[in-house]
Amino acid sequence: MTDLPMEDAITRAERAEQRGYLLLFLPALLLVGLFLGLPLGLLAFQSLREGDAFSLVHYARIFEEPIYWRTYADTLRVSLWVTLLAIALGFPLAYAAAIASRGWSTLILALVMLPFWTSVLVRTYAWLVVLQRKGIVNSTLIALGIIEQPLSLSHNYTAVLIGMVHVMVPFMVFPLYAAISKIPAELLQAGHSLGGGAFHVFRRVLLPLALPGLFAGSVLVFILCLGFYLTPELLGGGKTIMVSSLVQRNVELYLQFGAASAVAMMLLMIVMLIFWGVDRILPVEKIVGMR
């Protein structure tokens, strides 16, 4: 290295510029640090406190008391079902949008955008209206003579599944569509002309090529489900308690901040563990960028 004054000045100017960039970045960092970092720090701290001492009782409770660990098991089960159902509904939509003519494709995607841009609360309300005793489902079934008395369709497990799937399908369709629309149409046609049946072409050509989108969509949907609050709370009628409801009840109803913090931290650890595992296969930025 030479220490000519000119080069020295250049590196100094460069360093000043780099510092300038950090300064531009700082407000955003501060916003997240103060209003996300601090709350998470407090949750972590409180989850380890009992009275005035450090203790693991709040975490031990999660494993010992059935109400707690069953809620985690239920949450994982619901999330898994919703993810599978979202795939079942999202795949045909994404595929149809990918192979349809331009006009139809735009229409399909626009109709997927409609619920996407509608607030989750409004959509949950919509399902309360549709599934209630005098709602459209019951009145249709009665008019068709299939049932005589209205069924109780809302405030149960099925209603939660329906409401959550409705929210999650768009999150599955967009990454899937992005992956499938990149597959050249000739490739699928070649599969057919070589004598492959529809199922064969699906399994050997379409599925492998759509896999990245399927993976991204599934991870996103599964993680969004794990922390879902509104739909299970309103459509579940207090029967299907998800981890999110457990957090809310411990904070607002029982004022058990230690227990609430431990339950929240445990959920956060599960979510971060999934992100960490997935990051090796697909960068996290890609997944959260889909929203």
């Binding site: 916003l31 609360l121 949950t124 399902w127 922390g227």
Partner: protein, 262 residues
């Protein structure tokens, strides 16, 4: 194509799934014009009574205006903050900055219920619960990633040399950004702002925890009311919210289309 039966099944499935997605929303809009106090379907007659109930109610209006104010303020904060961060992330070569980028994405990675509980506990210590300041800060933080991701994507497809040329012609750094770069990434900034505004307007879970009293938000009031009964007023509010979101989305996509065409 050779196989027409699977093709036919695909179109039937597509139609059915789209109906599943769209019909509930349509039913809410139809219900908002019902003249009945009960949500029987089809509604017995047409009326504007639920819109009158919404727009004529002082509490609903206060919550609505408050939500619009909070959404506007938080958008005004997180758009410049997010744009500055995206700009820095795009031009900087510093490895530290690259590593810090993921921090700006954490608000969408952490489940909202955890954010809500944590914010509530911190705000309880410093007296920010049920204040405008507390809500605006929380919404700004939550929607920052949308602005950051959107603007960064816009900057990545922008040729930075244009800005460098402007600077070499004597414009200051900030002036060069405002005059040369910003006009070209405006659609990305607008998309980020749209996400931030609608996100803040619809935000419910955090509101449930940290809003209240004089600082009620519209979604929080809807949630509280839904817990007790399925009031048809909510159908009118929902229809109004759907219309607003849609007007904004369609408007912004039309604008970006004419921009592309020009």
């Amino acid at each position: 194509m050779t196989s027409s039966l699977p093709r036919l099944l695909l179109w039937i499935a597509t139609g059915a799934i789209l109906a599943f997605l769209v019909l509930p929303i349509g039913i809410v809009i139809i219900m908002s014009f019902s003249d009945s106090r009960f949500l029987t379907f089809p509604p017995p007659g047409f009326s504007w009574r639920w819109y009158a109930a919404y727009f004529g109610d002082r509490d609903w209006m206060d919550a609505t205006l408050n939500s619009l104010l909070l959404a506007s303020l938080s958008t005004l904060i997180c758009v410049p903050v997010g744009t500055a961060a995206a700009y820095a992330a795009n031009v900087s070569a510093s490895p530290l900055l690259r590593r810090l980028q993921i921090v700006l994405l954490t608000p969408v990675m952490v489940p909202v219920i955890i954010l809500a509980a944590g914010l509530y506990m911190v705000y309880a210590q410093v007296g920010l619960n049920a204040t405008k300041l507390g809500l605006v800060c929380a919404f700004s933080m939550m929607n920052l990633p949308y602005v950051f991701i959107s603007v960064l994507a816009g900057l990545r497809s922008f040729d930075m040399n244009q800005e460098n040329v402007a600077r070499s012609l004597g414009l200051g750094r900030f002036a060069a950004f405002v005059k040369v770069t910003l006009p070209q990434i405006r659609p990305s900034v607008a998309t980020g702002a749209l996400f931030a505004f609608i996100g803040a307007l619809d935000e419910t879970v955090v509101s449930i925890f940290i809003a209240g009293g004089e600082n009620q938000t519209l979604p929080r009031r809807m949630f509280m009311s839904l817990r007790n009964e399925i009031d048809p007023t909510i159908a009118a509010i929902s229809a109004a919210l759907i219309t607003l979101s849609f007007a904004l989305v369609v408007l912004s996509s039309l604008r970006s289309k004419t921009r592309q065409g020009a």
